[in-house]
Amino acid sequence: MRQVTRGTLVIDADRCKGCELCIVACPPRVLTMSRTGNATGYLYPELSPGCTGCTACQQVCPDFVFEVYKYHEPIVSGSDAERMQ
């Protein structure tokens, strides 16, 4: 599948308390909770390709764990040929 990634995050996973507010806040739905806990035992969000850099996760996070970066050039993964199939 062709995927355009316009932004990315830096997640301070060890300070996350696993409230999952960012999971539902993310418009492209590219955040998922981890399977294993962080240093304090909480699950934390992990990023899949497709981030748009909209900063919604950073806005809603009560523990301020996100930094949002926007790429100068979007990163396209997967090929158009793949998309056609």
Partner: protein, 262 residues
Amino acid sequence: MSIVMTTRPPEAPSNKVASFKPTLLQTEEHHLCPGCGEPVAIRLVLEVIEELGLAQKNVSIIGHGCYGSFIMTMDVDSTLCLHGRAPAVATGLKRMRPEVAVWTLQGDGDMTSEGLAEILHATARGENITCILLNNGVFGDTGGQMTASSVIGQRTKNTLEGRDAAYHGHPIVIGNMVAAMPGSAYVARGSVHNAASIAATRRLIRKGFQRQMEKKGLSLVEILTMCPTGWFVPASGGADYMMESLGKTYPLGEIKDISASE
């Protein structure tokens, strides 16, 4: 699906568009529960103070509640006062230092249960202060008991079957009470349950501080905040639960703006 590396900034050319911002908050660490809405509300207030250039001339009057722990990390002058007495303390401070932006931070238990007289009398006097109310419908700090603003049917630690109007009475909608009084200049209600409402709430807080600096009267900005621990719901369900319960009794938006009517 593959997982993107998020432990360090990207190597591809990029610019940072958002990060932990308010310089008035010295650390992003706090010990409030997972899913709490108060850190976001306090971040918004501090960002607005910074935007308006009030960083060096504001005093916060803090009531009693979980938000009181931020007194250690907020880089603003602050006073902790007795339960519910924040508007009374703010009155004294504002009258002695009229050029300083004085703002109070109270929870709903602090403002509507313990200190209803203070906020109403401060409004009646038309004091030029900005009151921030973090409304979650429970005494979160003491474990989730009913407050005067808990909504009908809300399950709290001492209303296990839900708040019953016949037995526990009706909730006090403080925003509408204050708006009905001539001393208030600006009354609005925002929330922090999603990104759009957070952006809207930032504008409401900004207007609240602006009305104070224009010497129009008391401004009250009520912010609905999540308290999943006090509501006995999962942290991830706090936002939905809030809009289903409190959101129906406390509709969002501006209730009164004295400048708009002129």
